[in-house]
């Protein structure tokens, strides 16, 4: 497909400049592709560097641990020898039957009393049948009976952790289900994001490609970058809460989305979800706790209460709630 209109910007100069140029300048498809390739290369090389750093770290940790394990086993060896010496010091080396049997076996072997396979007696009590080079079977070794012990009677109780408590626990600990997976950004990923933007700018293409590489949403990556930048710039900031405001806004949005099915199913009269008598889609009234609308504290107080009522009365996770709400709508 030919491009009839002349390019507004010289493609070569844009590629060379490449640094934080306004992303609003319209470029043609070919140039976009060139940019994308360059950005990809930058990301790729940073990733290779991260891989190499990681390998180095793993090897270093393994070596440190190996030294620690060597110390541990040396210590254990020492303990086991001390135990032997302690017994020897107490007098007769063969003061227990195990040691005595050990010595008897050695003596039997010296005397040539070795049994070989094939001629095994068929008594039930005969413990071992040799199939190979032979064993020494001390004929004075009789099986020792362990007397029977009464077991506890089987006691049936109600299940301590039932389904919805388990759900609560899972959610609190962040073992969320597939859809709502919340992954924190790790150190190396932050570095890659920051350095990529430093090199090739902060255009949408950059965030798209980064998002693909890191398996996240572009808006997440962008929010993370902004959080990193503002954190760096706000060293003298007196309001530390604002540095992560971009991230918080994103999380708030997700909170709203997650809450929507619960809101739809909640019955204000019965205080349960999915009420059979009063139906769904009731208009909810949010309690106003303080006159300042910008205070973020007002909103969260409502949701956990709702959630705990919900989870106690109706065991469901967020995607299940969504599915139910969808069906009822």
């Amino acid at each position: 497909m030919t491009n009839s209109s002349p390019p507004k910007v010289n493609p070569l100069s844009t590629a060379a400049a490449g640094r934080s140029e306004s992303p609003d300048v319209p470029v043609n498809a070919a140039q976009q592709e060139a940019d994308a390739t360059e950005i990809s290369m930058v990301i790729e090389s940073l990733k290779l560097q991260a891989d190499a750093d990681r390998r180095e770290y793993v090897m270093k940790r393994m070596e440190e641990n190996r030294i620690k394990v060597a110390e541990i086993t040396r210590n254990r060896h020492q303990l086991s020898i001390e135990r032997t010496n302690q017994m020897n010091m107490n007098g007769n080396k063969f003061d227990n039957l195990l040691s005595r049997r050990q010595q008897e076996a050695i003596d039997m072997q010296k005397r040539g009393e070795i049994r070989f396979g094939g001629s095994s007696s068929s008594q039930e009590d005969d413990p071992v049948i040799p199939l190979g080079p032979g064993i020494v079977l001390n004929s004075s070794v009789r099986p020792i009976i362990l007397p029977k012990v009464e077991k506890l009677p089987r006691h049936v109780t109600s299940v301590f952790i039932d389904r919805n408590q388990r759900r609560i626990y899972d959610d609190h600990n962040g073992f969320s289900d597939e859809e709502e997976e919340e992954r924190e950004f790790a150190g190396p990923e932050d570095n890659i994001i920051r350095m990529t933007v430093e090199e090739v700018g902060a255009s949408d293409t950059v965030f798209d490609l980064l998002a693909k590489r890191l398996s996240r949403e572009p808006c997440e990556v962008k929010a993370r970058y902004e959080a990193l930048v503002s954190r760096k710039n706000a060293t003298e900031s007196s309001k530390p809460g604002e540095t992560d405001s971009a991230m918080n806004a994103l999380l708030d949005k997700r909170l709203e989305e997650a809450q929507a099915p619960f809101d739809y199913l909640f019955c204000r009269q019965c205080l349960i979800f999915d009420c059979k008598f009063h139906g769904h889609g009731q208009e909810l009234v949010y309690p106003v706790t303080s006159p300042s609308p910008s205070s973020p504290a007002a909103f969260p107080t409502y949701f956990p209460l709702l959630l705990s009522i919900f989870l106690i009365s109706f065991p469901m996770s967020v995607p299940e709630a969504k599915a139910v709400a969808k069906k009822k709508m």
Binding site: K47, S99, P133, N138, K148, R183, L214
Partner: protein
């Protein structure tokens, strides 16, 4: 499920062996008609380095390795209850250094056998279901841990017969606990794993006074104030299926997941580092360092065995259908090194398959010299009542 972020991936080993190990089978023994579920050498007392115990059916047997590959049977204990089936055994000792054997199985009763005096020392009734694994604290061999199908882990004092702690409750396992291990140097820390796919790390620090009291308790054991530890210090969900074996390796954990139920998925060992936050227990991160693939194996509960120095580990390799499983004792040509072998097969499956420890485990490809088997033990299993006549195999 812990997601792995970029820049924090583990190194993955390969199944192709890099060196050929020099092992040979020196003997084969068959213990009656029962499956052998566990084999364990004594690492606690240097006099007994060449002594090992096996459990199978309702029997506990003690053997000794002699020169030239000859094996001696030293002692044999039988549970009067014919329906008992021991799953696990561990060596322990009391304050005088008398060797003890601690065995547990389907009855849920833990037998403490005084091997020095050839009699039963104590029987612990307490678990509500079968006992899957018993481990001894190497630094204090009167303390043992038991992992049970009743979803709890218990700490016992085998000398005084007291159940000191029970690790269960709100934060405990939600399914059978399959494996448990003491931290090698931190005496307060333990790790457990099970059929709820999680690994939990627990701390006994705030309960340690109870542990000390259990040694000096004068009254009846049943009057001891056994405490519940309900919350672990770290929960790791790095596996997607039953975690059937866990071992501490210094500060790292080696844990194995068994995807046999899903099938066609290679199982793997994962070597990872738990990073706990001292100030906030319950929070912490997991850093997965290495993964070792294990060839497909459709039996559960195959445990890992390590040698004394943790230089080597033996695991079970592929099972094929046409050969009988047998118990092997493989002696390294080098003397003076012994393997603590411990394998267990699920009683649910009886296979006429071949269970062999792979001598050619991958090493050399990985920075850690983890896998060389010096003594390896494979376990025999047969359907009950079938006579056994196996052909010798060359390895």
């Amino acid at each position: 499920m812990t997601k792995i972020t970029l820049g924090c991936e583990p190194a993955v080993g390969s199944l192709a062996p890099s060196k050929k190990r020099d092992y040979r089978v020196t003997n084969r023994l068959q213990e009656g008609k029962r499956p052998i579920y566990a084999v364990v050498f004594n690492f606690i007392d240097s006099r007994y380095y060449n002594v090992f115990a096996t459990v199978g059916g309702n029997r506990v047997t003690v053997y000794q390795c002699l020169e030239g590959g000859v094996i001696a049977v030293l002692q044999s204990y039988i549970d009067e209850d014919k329906d008992e089936s021991f799953y696990t055994v561990s060596w322990a000792c009391d304050a005088d250094g008398t060797p003890l054997l601690v065995a547990g199985g389907i009855n849920g009763i833990i037998r403490v056998i005084d091997a020095g005096n050839e009699k039963i020392h104590k029987s612990f009734v307490g678990h509500g279901d079968s006992v899957n694994e018993i481990r001894t604290q190497a630094l204090r061999p009167s303390l043992v841990l038991s992992a049970s199908k009743d979803e709890s882990v218990r700490l016992w004092n085998v000398q005084t017969g007291i159940c000191i702690l029970i690790f269960a409750g709100a934060g405990g396992h939600r399914n059978e606990v399959l494996s448990v291990d003491f931290h090698p140097s931190d005496i307060y820390r333990i790790a457990s794993c099970g059929m709820d796919n999680t690994v939990k790390i627990w701390s006994m620090k705030e309960f340690w006074t109870y542990v000390e009291r259990s040694f000096t308790w004068e009254e009846l054991p049943s009057q001891f104030p056994t405490k519940y530890v309900q919350f672990p210090v770290l929960i790791a969900s790095i596996h997607t299926n039953y975690v059937d074996c866990i071992r501490w390796l210094g500060d790292f954990i080696l844990s194995k997941v068994n995807d046999c139920l899903i099938q066609s998925v290679d199982n793997e060992f994962i070597l990872w580092e738990p990073k706990m936050k001292e100030q906030s227990p319950g929070e912490g991160t997991v850093d997965i360092l290495q993964k070792y693939p294990v060839p497909e194996c459709d039996i559960w509960f195959i445990k890992l065995s390590c040698d004394f120095h943790y230089n080597t580990a033996a695991i079970v390799g592929k099972i094929s259908d046409d050969v009988d499983l047998e118990a092997y004792i493989i002696q390294a040509t080098e003397k003076g090194k012994y393997l603590y072998g411990n394998c267990r097969l699920a009683p649910l499956l009886s296979l006429q398959g071949y269970l062999m420890s792979s001598p050619n485990l991958p090493s050399g490809k990985l920075p850690c010299r983890l896998t060389e088997a010096q003594y390896s033990v494979a376990v025999k299993t047969e359907p009950f009542g079938v006579g056994i006549q196996s052909q010798p195999h060359s390895l």
